[in-house]
């Protein structure tokens, strides 16, 4: 129980740190938000700066400590403010969320499954042909910059072969509905960005799983199992894999932040309107409320997952409960 309590404390502290960074950074920058936004608007009279300053409350002088406390309070009650278009930040996030969840969620799960399975198999068959070339190959592939993988796929399948669309989440003419053609359209647009994510992250899982498996296979209890004459597949799954997967689980949650980052790059490369794309747009358009809201969201998402993974590990692995 103390373990979980300590973890909870850690998370609250991390959350506070992230919020404070969110709050402090824009205020450390010279100039105000109105000036920055004005520079991104088209066909607007420079005199509009005055109106923008009023809109963004730039000249409203308030004690900075008070603003900070208000900001913290607002974050905890979910009041993330409105973005430049007057739309609540929460609405914007909710709109973009399903696209990222779908793309990243499915790709990550696929990558994890493929990677873990292949990792187990290649570790089991050490010295086999698969083990000789697959892990190093995949390791190299996963050291490619993820956006570069995306660009290569765009070039091959989008530009040269013209089989798949090079960006977006569905056709501009299409009206979102639950109809089959629309779903097909969505899937067609998700193939390339999804493949990019899967290819790069699967390599990671294969490598990790394989290394863990190999280490575990060298353990005594596995030798014991073999000596008892248990069936190979039983040893592989029940004895080895089950223990090898544990570090993976927490690692998985910790990696989530990393995967989310990779998703930002993939969404940028494919112009896929998920959270990552929204995050990038909010920086270039100087949409401060949206950027802060998304940064908070990202941090929360990782925290929740790590906490969840810790819970599961604590449940499954008795050793951690005593730590």
């Amino acid at each position: 129980m103390t373990y979980l309590r300590r973890r909870l404390g850690l998370f609250l502290l991390t959350l506070w740190a992230a919020l404070t960074v969110n709050f402090a950074l824009p205020r450390l920058m010279p100039g105000n938000e109105a000036q920055a936004v004005l520079a991104t608007l088209h066909g607007v009279n420079p005199a509009a700066l005055h109106a923008l300053e009023i809109e963004f409350g730039v000249n409203v002088h308030q004690n900075i400590v008070l603003t900070y406390l208000q900001y913290l309070g607002n974050c905890f009650t979910g009041q993330l403010g409105v973005d430049h278009y007057g739309i609540p930040v929460v609405t914007g996030i909710v709109q973009a969320l399903p696209w990222t969840l779908g793309l990243v969620g499915i790709a990550t799960v696929l990558a994890f499954l493929i990677g873990t399975l292949v990792g187990i198999l290649t570790a089991w068959r050490r010295g086999g042909r698969m083990d000789a070339f697959l892990p190093p190959l995949l390791f190299i592939v996963s050291s490619f910059p993820i956006f570069f993988m995306g660009l290569v796929l765009i070039l091959i399948f989008g530009v040269v072969l013209n089989w798949l669309p090079i960006g977006g989440n569905y056709n501009i003419d299409a009206t979102p509905s639950l109809s089959l053609p629309f779903i097909g359209d969505v899937i067609t647009h998700a193939i390339l960005p999804g493949a990019t994510l899967v290819v790069v992250t699967a390599g990671l899982w294969i490598f990790t799983m394989r290394n863990n498996m190999i280490t575990t296979l060298a353990e005594d209890y596995v030798k014991m199992g073999r000596a008892k004459g248990l069936a190979p597949w039983r040893i592989m799954l029940d004895y080895a894999a089950r223990n090898a997967i544990l570090p993976n689980l927490t690692g998985f949650a910790m990696q989530l932040g990393f995967v989310l980052g990779g998703a930002i790059l993939v969404e940028y490369t494919f112009s896929y309107p998920g959270l990552g794309y929204l995050f990038y747009t909010s920086t270039t358009l100087h949409d401060l409320p949206m950027m802060q809201g998304l940064f908070l969201f990202y941090t929360m998402a990782v925290l929740v997952c790590v906490l969840g993974a810790d819970l599961v590990t604590a449940l499954v692995d008795p050793r951690t409960r005593d730590a």
Binding site: L10, F11, L13, T14, A17, A18, V21, N22, L25, P26, M29, R126, G127, D131, A132, P136, F139, I140, S142, S143, F144, P145, I146, F148, L151, L155, V159, I166, V200, T201, L204, F207, T208, N211, N212, I214, T215, P247, N248, T250, G251, M254, Q255, G257, F258, V259, L260, G261, G262, I264, L265, Y280, T283, T284, L294, F295, Y298, T299, A301, V302
Partner: protein, 311 residues
């Protein structure tokens, strides 16, 4: 971009540390050089370092000279074609190597040193110092990296120094954790006990007694971070958060992408810096992989079952 694998630095998990002994180190290096992966990685890195050091040997064109034909394809005069402004892509690639490599190496060194200091100090001092340093490490580990990088890089003035600063900030935490767990296992060792009895100060013990035993681990840390940094630096610059008037592979990628190079057919303008980044990442990754194998004997390429001399 490469995603660091948890557990990939199994070199740190105990097998690679021993009391200082020359023969072990020599054996280590010998094993290293006999590994095919290590050789491949080393060769890649050496070639890239050579290009970074002597760009003038490879190309006579000034990379910034916008005097050639616009958006020409590869030819004998322009091996990779020209950019939209009329610069030679090949010379841009060659001259961009130095700054790219500098960023990666500087960040990796600083991050490794930082993680070493924090990790080992936490392990050695224990108690409150350990708990607070571990807390700090965990916070940096959990905060999602790329969003933090984007926010930082966006608000700070764009350029190489900002890039180095923000990358250092986000790269040290991972290895600090690993090094701490390594340091923990060392605390009770005899040679350290004797140093304590002699009355040496903690800082002396850390720097003079502990660190030298961990050189191979630190090297592995350095390589692990480097793979990470190559990808992130390129990613940030690709997003446009670098300074596009400084020539690196990342900014070259950014300019190519911003000018629709892939779609308008000037493919090598965009592919070549991407491939270069991939190559650099692969070089570090291969070396890292090789270090892992050496550190954790179980991972070494399996010899035939009959051979019992594998240690």
């Amino acid at each position: 971009m490469a995603i660091p694998a948890i557990g990939s630095n199994s070199a740190l998990s105990g097998a690679g540390v021993s009391a200082p002994s020359t023969s072990v180190r020599v054996r280590f290096l010998r094993t290293l050089f006999s590994s095919k992966k290590a050789t491949a990685g080393l060769v890649i890195l050496l070639v890239i370092s050579f290009v970074a050091a002597f760009p003038g040997l490879l190309t006579h064109d000034d990379p910034n000279a916008a005097i050639y034909g616009i958006e020409q394809g590869p030819s004998l005069q322009h091996l990779l074609g020209t950019t939209l402004v009329g610069q030679d892509v090949f010379s841009q690639l060659v001259y961009g190597t130095r700054l790219t490599l500098v960023i990666v190496v500087v960040v990796s060194v600083i991050a490794t040193v930082l993680s070493m200091i924090i990790g080992i100090t936490a392990a050695y001092l224990g108690g409150l110092a350990d708990r607070s340093l571990s807390l700090l490490t965990d916070i940096f580990l959990i905060i999602p990296t790329l969003p933090l990088l984007i926010v930082l890089a966006f608000y700070l003035p764009s350029g190489v120094s900002t890039m180095i600063l923000v990358l250092c900030l986000t790269s040290w935490a991972f290895q600090a954790r690993q090094l701490r767990s390594q340091g923990l296992s060392l605390r009770s060792r005899d040679f350290l006990a004797s140093a304590r009895v002699r009355g040496e100060r903690p800082l002396y013990i850390i720097l003079v007694e502990i660190v030298p035993t961990m050189t191979s681990l630190l090297a592995a840390s350095f390589l692990g971070v480097a793979v990470y940094v190559v990808g992130f630096a390129a990613g940030l610059q690709f997003l446009g958060l670098g300074n596009s008037s400084e020539l690196t592979w990342g900014t070259l990628l950014y300019q190519a992408q911003a000018n629709d190079a892939l779609i308008s057919g000037n493919v090598w303008w965009e592919l070549s810096p991407g491939l270069a980044v991939a190559l650099l990442g692969a070089g570090f990754a291969l070396l890292n992989y090789a270090f892992d194998e050496i550190g954790n004997p179980a991972l070494r390429p399996a010899r035939r079952r009959r051979d019992r001399s594998a240690s």
